[in-house]
């Protein structure tokens, strides 16, 4: 499973948000973190990969061109998690998962409602939230909502997992929990995982690859060590910062002052 992105240009109508992005092929079993300042186009790139925006260029999954494919066809292999779940929805966690599974055929075809429910429960157990199965989405705490949203993306057993800020609403413990889980699933199933994060230390720790987006263009890509440098942080984020290793050897970004 490899995802190749070449000369991808995305935008809303005539307003282009992302121009001419080419990434080194993204291998299965590895996490790629998209980082960059607010409004740089990270979420747009993710939405473009999910097929939610008109796109030019090329996005190939195992050599198969995805641009121009129908949503239904894409949805068999690609899952996308937006930043938020809507409020005021009278569905339980389980009902939402079964709905997500039954919305269109997955790679394995059409599942019966019973099989879908079985698979949804299995996943909730894996995520450690089986006890939330029958709780309404509106009753969940911020962190639980994020987990429920993640489950809705995972339940279709995608090959490509696109996550928009999966840890933004979570406390420290749950941030680590979710990132570990995503890494585990990515490695176990050989997923191509692309996620947007703001926490650079989290990106450095869990992602094999980092792509830096700034002002609608790709500014840098490579390993965390190669991309997270004071020069890049000054250039793209406009801050003077140090990048140091903590006592455990993890990269830490220490922002000192805006430039």
């Amino acid at each position: 499973m490899t995802l190749e992105i070449e000369r991808l240009t995305l935008g809303y109508g005539r307003r282009l948000v992302l121009r001419d992005v080419s990434l080194e092929p993204l291998p299965g079993g590895a996490i790629t973190a998209l980082i960059g300042p607010n409004g740089a186009g990270k979420s747009t790139l993710l939405r473009g990969l999910a097929g939610l925006l008109p796109a030019r260029g090329s996005v190939r999954l195992e050599g198969e061109e995805m641009i121009g494919q129908s949503l239904e066809r894409r949805a068999r292999r690609i899952a996308y998690m937006p930043q938020s779940l809507p409020q005021g929805v009278a569905l339980t966690v389980m009902e939402a998962l079964v709905g997500a599974l039954k919305a269109s055929p997955t790679e394995e075809g059409v599942l019966s409602a019973r099989a879908a429910a079985g698979r949804a429960l299995e996943l909730l157990e894996r995520l450690g939230i089986a006890e939330l199965a029958l709780v309404g989405l509106d009753r969940l705490s911020g962190g639980q909502r994020q987990l429920a949203g993640l489950a809705q993306a995972l339940v279709r057993r995608p090959r490509v997992l696109l996550l928009d800020e999966p840890t933004s609403a979570l406390d420290l413990r749950h941030q680590l929990g979710v990132m570990r889980l995503v890494r585990e699933l990515t490695r176990q199933h050989g997923l191509v995982t692309v996620l947007v994060v703001h926490d650079l230390a989290l990106a450095a720790r869990f992602a094999e690859r980092v792509a830096v987006i700034g002002e609608g263009r790709l500014r840098a890509q490579g390993t965390p060590e190669a991309t997270l440098t004071p020069a890049m942080l000054a250039d793209v984020y406009g801050v003077s910062a140090r990048v140091e290793r903590c006592s455990l050897g993890h990269l830490q970004v220490l922002a000192d002052a805006p430039l």
């Binding site: 949805a75 709905g99 299995e122 909730l124």
Partner: protein, 351 residues
């Protein structure tokens, strides 16, 4: 709770939840049946429930007058109440989901106002569709305008890809535009025409006839299979448009299909019985409080709630002023609001 135990409990719990929802649907259906019987039994000459049941089950055995009252007078009204209630609430439910707006209903988005305009044109100016016989002129006009209003709404929203919010705003704007046009017609109308128009817009089941019932039943029979097929997609749409798209749902197509069904159901209903608000708004909300938004249950529950509500309103419309049948459009809100408030509060206590 260990993982495996939680999963087992979850599986049993989910099955119980599904069963409970199915049981609620069955209960609603039973209540609806009872309400239908009651509706037939109620009226200026009171009939026993047993008599009514006997006449309905065995038409040949019944004596002349009772049979006539039941089959020719009361049953058409009662059945019309059930079908119109179901059609309006189903339309409202689909509308609320695809427009992602709990205030959406055929009434709030201009369908009823458009129908009124069509009716007003027929009553005041005698304008109608060519080749439509005189007795169908009013209904035909109302239907055409209601249908056209939804299609207009749809095409307006397509201009420059306006969003769902814009569609709701357009609908509300249409209400004002149609109401103004109706007011203008009322202003120039003769006294007799004005009276007829005002009475029409109150909404009444007294216009029910078997052919009209047949047409409405046909519209429901046409719409329901497509609605049922879309149920899973509609459920997924509740999780947000972007998420729904990422599940492979063509949201625009889903919305178009739903609006087409909504226009058919609400246009036929409004054309035959006039303006009956409230049902299309509150039927879905009552259903949501009872069974949630898994559309496998939500849509039938909305239809049943709407039917039950209008059927009970029909009973009340005959009891409110002895010897007089108050137009049911007036009664729906009077009956519906207390029922709805009760539902909201009992739900609140359980939560």
């Amino acid at each position: 709770m260990s993982g495996a135990a939680a999963t087992l409990a979850g599986a049993a719990g989910y099955r119980a939840l599904v069963l409970r929802r199915a049981a609620l649907l069955a209960l609603l259906a039973v209540l609806l049946g009872a309400s239908l019987l009651l509706d037939v039994a109620t009226g200026s000459s009171r009939l026993g429930l047993a008599d009514v049941a006997r006449v309905l089950l065995n038409p040949a055995s019944a004596s002349g007058p009772v049979s006539v009252i039941v089959w020719d007078v009361r049953l058409p009204y009662a059945v019309m109440a059930v079908l119109v209630g179901a059609a309006l609430a189903l339309a409202g439910a689909e509308m609320q989901t695809v427009l992602n707006n709990p205030l959406a209903s055929p009434f709030t988005l201009g369908v009823s106002s458009a129908a009124s305009l069509g009716a007003a044109l027929a009553i005041v100016l005698g304008v109608g569709i060519p080749w439509v016989p005189q007795e169908w002129l009013l209904s035909g006009n109302a239907f055409l305008f209601a249908l056209a209003s939804v299609l207009l709404l749809r095409s307006l929203s397509r201009l420059r890809g306006a969003g769902v919010e814009a569609l709701v705003l357009f609908g509300i704007a249409l209400v004002f535009a149609f109401n103004a046009a109706v007011a203008l017609l009322q202003f120039v109308a003769t006294e007799q025409a004005l009276q007829q128009l005002v009475f029409w817009s109150m909404g009444s089941l007294a216009r029910a006839t078997w052919p009209k019932i047949g047409i409405l039943a046909l519209a429901l029979a046409l719409a329901i299979p497509f609605t049922a097929r879309a149920a899973w997609k509609l459920t997924a749409l509740r999780l947000g448009e972007e998420r729904a798209l990422s599940f492979g749902i063509d949201a625009n197509r889903l919305r178009d299909g739903a609006l087409l069904r909504v226009s058919l159901l609400s246009a036929v209903s409004v054309a035959f019985v006039g303006t009956i608000g409230f049902i299309g708004l509150v039927g879905p909300h009552a259903a949501r409080l009872m069974v949630g938004e898994d559309h496998r249950f939500f849509l039938p529950a909305a239809a049943l709630c709407g039917a039950l509500l209008l059927s009970l309103s029909s009973v009340a419309s005959k009891l409110l002023v002895p010897g007089l049948m108050v137009p049911v459009g007036i009664v729906t809100a009077l009956v519906g609001v207390p029922v709805f408030v009760l539902l909201v509060f009992t739900r609140g206590r359980r939560a």
